[in-house]
Amino acid sequence: MKPDDFSYLAQLVRRRSGLLLPTHKAPLIEGRLASVMRRFGFRSVPALINELRHGHDALARAVSEAMTTNESSFFRDKAAFDKFRDVILPPLISARASSKRLRIWSAACAAGQEAYSIAMILSDLKLQAKGWSIDFFATDLSPEMIARAELGVYSHYEVQRGLATRRLVAHFTQEGASWRIHENLRRMVTFRQFNLLDSYGWLDDLDIVFCRNVLLYFDHKTKTSVLERIAEVLMPDGALLLGHTETPDILPKTFVSLAHAPDFYARARHQVPKLAVVG
């Protein structure tokens, strides 16, 4: 790809989705453009970029969405899910005992494995049978990923990475070589296409936000802006989980890390020990 085509593409994607496209990833990026080229009938990358320069909005959107990394697996970073279950959830469940309501957001859900992993943990606790209502939103930039997540069908390979066989048997139905998530878990989650740069007006009073392995693709300013807006929609005693490689140096002053739950963060003004001493 010509340098000026690459920098045009990088600027466009950064403006639309916040994603940074480093120059050394040009071959990977060209690979990701291939599917968009096929879909829109372009024979070359320069022809596609030329059309982008002329302000083709649907194309620009498709290109931005194609640049996301959709790598995911069930219970990815198992330790974080254990901490979620053992350290983060119990005090929240006590604190919400009167309202019996939990509000959760999986902010970059890809094909839904993270959201369904959380749903399996909640299902083990039988909260809904005890009269709780769970508002569980899962969003992704890519409409294709949201469609896959809503379908809830996973390959032989996907269900064998991170998912205990007991959970597979308990929560999925076999369909040939694929496995379909059970309806009770699928209905627990509301999937929705959403750009993290857009307005968070439809989200509020969240108890738990999972925002893992997405901020690392953003520049510093975008990271800060996203984290500040997450802080605004998070309850004072709520918790944010970041990816294991996303160290606190990216955090604005709005968040502090929780001593007993690595990778989990609380809003800065809140009394941290309440969450941290449990477990």
Binding site: K78, R161, V169, Q174
Partner: protein, 120 residues
């Protein structure tokens, strides 16, 4: 170094499994049928058993017999088989299997399953 017994009636598949496990830092031994696998367990109980038997004593019979042996509840038993239907999987779990790998498998699936049972 942890010790794994690969129990399988196909020699080529035993070799593939052993190579993956050695790569994952296991000492491996092989058994080609249930009787020799039990004999092996009686002399040296492994930490992990990767199990796929179809002939003579099948995997379920072997597992039930093993779990009744002295020290036979200790090893982590992972089924590793082409029989991928849910009834078979449930049967194996109910008989005392810790995990179940559906074929075709590769190194990353084996590694993920061993992490699942705390042996990675």
């Amino acid at each position: 170094m942890k010790h794994c017994l690969v129990v399988n009636d196909s020699r080529p598949i035993r070799k593939v499994a052993c190579r993956i496990l050695q790569d994952l830092q296991f000492k491996t031994d092989e058994a080609e049928d249930g009787a020799s696998a039990l004999a092996h367990c009686r002399s040296q109980m492994p930490e992990l058993i990767l199990l796929d038997l179809n002939m003579n004593m099948n995997s379920i019979e072997f597992l039930k017999t093993l779990r009744r042996e002295h020290g036979g509840s200790r090893p982590v038993v992972v089924f590793c088989t082409t029989e991928n239907d849910v009834a078979r999987i449930s049967e194996a779990l109910n008989a005392g299997a810790n995990e179940y790998v559906m074929k075709p498998f590769d190194r990353s699936i084996i590694a993920a399953k061993l992490a699942e049972v705390g042996l990675a």
